[in-house]
């Protein structure tokens, strides 16, 4: 399985390449990608440098152009696709049908991957994108169980990539407007969820409050670990009971499922986190490289090494991990 790693900056890209990525994915410095954060991403000069660094080490470079252009922004998305083609990127990762349509018409040789933002959770949807846009690969939303992934893989006209590790979207990607309901930005429209500009922290006596555009997302007692107020990971009141009504702060970790993913014909595993530091990327990529190599050497006796799991738990949200939709209580 190919190990696809995030690069939000050139140092992060180097960390990914040097620690065993088979492919890295980047975004350009605007709202054409789903990690549109200040200080992140690549302009054309940096992207060229990134490409050189990756190519010299036989690592592929993918470009994420995976948000949904609105009429006023169309030119930026068109330029992003042209730029990726000019760079001769190994693939463009896109979700919008307008963008995919433009890419396949203007640059028929440019390989296209359907972004997780395209929200294709079944093989009929994959057929649509394959037949109309000749996509080569699709990234599956984090909503499927293992048996569902297997079923999709058996009928899919294209290669499949699944999320391996990182922040966990609890909602089907590409179809979540929670962030724009509270703030004015969402992943689809702006490439941002629970944007930093809307976050406010308030210390009230011994209680620390996190707010998103004024809406109270969580309250922390002294000594409690306070997490970034991603709105689906706060504590809310449902029927007079205050709890993580949608999801706990936690990261997805599928490392122990490597044998099953491989058996189900998954072609690539993806590490989330273009917004993360080079040190994070280095640790996570190194562990996953070791795990995949260990599996390749001796598939029969593959076991998730507790040391690997400890490293991954340590860099996870809330220092805990989950198998997400792969675990039974979700289904």
């Amino acid at each position: 399985m190919e190990l696809v790693c995030p690069a939000g900056s050139f140092p992060a890209l180097k960390a990914a390449v040097d620690n065993g990525a088979d492919a890295v994915y980047i975004g350009f410095k605007d709202d054409t990608n789903a990690r549109h954060f200040a200080g992140l991403n690549f302009n054309d000069r940096k992207a060229m440098k990134a490409l050189d660094y990756a190519r010299q080490r036989d690592v592929k470079l993918f470009v994420a152009i995976n948000t949904y252009p609105q009429p006023e922004g169309w030119e930026r998305w068109r330029k992003a696709v042209d730029m990726a083609a000019e760079l001769q990127a190994d693939a463009v990762i896109a979700g919008d049908m307008g963008v995919l349509g433009y890419a396949v018409e203007a640059h028929p040789d440019l390989a296209l991957h359907l972004s997780v933002q395209g929200s294709a959770t079944n093989y009929e949807a994959l057929k649509f994108y394959q037949q109309r846009f000749n996509i080569r690969r699709a990234v599956l939303p984090r909503v499927l169980s293992l048996s569902q992934v297997k079923h999709v893989a058996q009928h899919s006209p294209v290669d499949l990539e699944v999320f391996a590790f990182g922040s966990l979207c609890i909602m089907a990607e590409g179809r979540c407007h929670l962030s724009s309901y509270i703030t004015d930005e969402s992943p689809n429209t702006c490439g941002a969820c629970s944007p930093a500009k809307a976050v406010r922290w308030e210390q009230k006596g011994e209680v620390l409050e996190s707010r998103l555009n004024g809406v109270l997302i969580d309250r922390y007692q002294e000594g409690e670990n306070a997490g970034y107020p991603t709105l689906c990971k706060g504590r809310f009141d449902v029927a007079d009971h205050i709890y993580h009504a949608l999801e706990e702060p936690t990261s997805l970790n599928t490392l122990e499922l490597i044998p099953q993913l491989k058996a189900n014909n998954v072609k690539a595993v993806k590490i989330e986190g273009r917004q993360r530091s080079p040190a994070y990327v280095e640790q996570v990529v190194r562990v996953w490289r070791e795990a995949l190599d260990s599996y390749a050497r001796d598939p029969q006796s593959f076991k998730a090494d507790p040391e690997w799991m400890a490293v991954l738990a340590n860099v996870s949200e809330g220092t805990q991990t989950t198998l997400g939709a792969y675990s039974r209580p979700w289904q």
Partner: protein
Amino acid sequence: MQLSIGSILFFWPRETVYDFYQRMTQSPADIIYLGETVCSKRRELKTGDWLALAKELSGSGKQVVLSTLALLEAESEMKTLRNICDNDGLLVEANDMAGVQVLSEKGLPFVAGSSINIYNARTLQVLHKQGLKRWVMPVELSANTLGLILKDAARLGFADQVETEVFAYGHLPLAFSARCFTARSRDLPKDDCQFVCIDHPEGLAMRSQEQQPVFTINGIQTMSGDVYNLLPEVGKMAELGVDVVRVSPRISDMEILVKQFKSAMDGELTQIPVIAAGDCNGYWYGDPGMLTVPA
């Protein structure tokens, strides 16, 4: 402009559903969407029941459209989708690209529901070429963006061949998950959910710890905490070229709501009622959806 009643997004008892549609056939609505769009475990009405009901209602002089599931994961759900698409003669609303694929392969016309991501005219054109007759604008888009999309569609030469529908009233469908949040609220696993959604005919309020309504839990769907209400905007919709105004079913007062919308659309309401306290309309103005912007 025409008035539509969207599919019932909540889980209601069988008799409540039949009674609702009985009453709606008497309402001034022009179009009725029906079918299960949220969760395949909701089977108070089975697919055959929905198909039979749709047939029956189509005799009432209203356009009847069958709506399909928004998040398809299992083969059984694909089978249901194919059954619905194989119905003879009724228009289908695809709420997932699987529906678009199945319908376009058959060469059948379709409506693209609000969970199909149409954010620009090029995407709309791609789908128009596959058989799209009508689209429901994604709920997070604004009036301004809608105007620009329709202008681009005119420039691309197909604007007059597609109808535009706007979700104008009700709790907004905002997200879909593998996880069932209603079951989670009762500490039940999803595969033994005991169909508890039926206890919440308008979903389950999810408030902040300061009691501000934030979202509404509806099984695997998360909806807006407040009701979205574009009643005062129907005039603007007509100007923009909107063809259909959608009202989403609520458990009570639907007749009054439908009448009010119809009167506003016909210009008969001399004084458009101010939107109810707590209703929101932010998205329409390009603001956070939860906000209430004075008309």
